[in-house]
C-alpha cells in the first residue's frame, strides 16, 4: 500500500469530520482511498498523520439488510435534509484470519456526498459493534 502524501491528494475525496471519531480527537481530515480494483474496500487515511488509517467498506455487499436509521440531529449536523445524500461506511477491524475481521454496525461513518462532511454516528438501534464481516 502506498503512503499518502498530503500534497498529492488534491484529486482524492477529502473528508472532514464535524466531530472527530471517538478515540482520535486530533484527526478531523481524512482522504478516502479506493482499492483501485472496483472492489468494495476503502481506506480512510488521516491527512495529518498518513500512517493512521481505517479500513472501511460500504454495507451493501456484506450486510444487505443493513438499513440504519439516521436521525434528524445527524442530518442537521451534516447540513442535509435528505438521507439519499449520505454515504454510509462501516469501520472494519482486522483479525489474524479473514474469519476474525469484524465491522462496526453500531457506529457507521456517515458522509454527506456533496459537502464531504462526515460524522461517526452512534445509532440508537441495538446493533453489534463487532459483527463478523464474512459469513
Amino acid at each position: 500500500m502506498t503512503r499518502i502524501d498530503p500534497a498529492s491528494t488534491e484529486d482524492l475525496p477529502t473528508i472532514e469530520f464535524s466531530t472527530p471519531m471517538p478515540g482520535f480527537p486530533e484527526h478531523r481530515t481524512f482522504v478516502l482511498v479506493g482499492s483501485g480494483e472496483d472492489e468494495p474496500v476503502f481506506t480512510l487515511c488521516s491527512v495529518d498523520e498518513p500512517a493512521l488509517r481505517f479500513i472501511v467498506v460500504p454495507p451493501a455487499p456484506f450486510f444487505p439488510d443493513y438499513a440504519p436509521e439516521i436521525g434528524d440531529q445527524v442530518l442537521e449536523q451534516l447540513a442535509t435534509a435528505k438521507a439519499d445524500d449520505l454515504l454510509v461506511l462501516l469501520v472494519v477491524t482486522g483479525g489474524d484470519t479473514p474469519a476474525q475481521a469484524t465491522a462496526n454496525l453500531l457506529a457507521p461513518v456517515v458522509v454527506n456526498r456533496a459537502t464531504r462532511r462526515a460524522v461517526q454516528v452512534i445509532l440508537s438501534e441495538d446493533l453489534p459493534i463487532r459483527a463478523p464481516l464474512l459469513p
Binding site: F24, V41, F54, I55, V57, V91, G94, Q120
Partner: protein, 80 residues
Amino acid sequence: MLVLTRRTGDSIRIGDEVTVTVLDIRGDVVRLGIQAPRSVAVHRDEVYRELRRANEEAAVTDDTVAAGLSAILRQAKPRN
C-alpha cells in the same frame, strides 16, 4: 468532582448551552433529560467508551496490516 444534590424536576446547567434535568427517580434508576446544542454529542458513557475502544482496535498504523486486510477483503466473497 463537583457534587450537587438535586430533586426530581431540578436541573443543572453546564456552560451556557447544556442543561441536564432530573426527570424521574425510582429506586436506583434515574431518568435524565439533556438539552444541548446539536454540535454536542451526548452518549451513555459505556457506549462511548466501547466505541472508542473499537476505533482504537480498528486503527491501522502498519502498511502491511492495511494491505493484508485489504487483500483479504478483496478476495473474500461478500454475502450473496
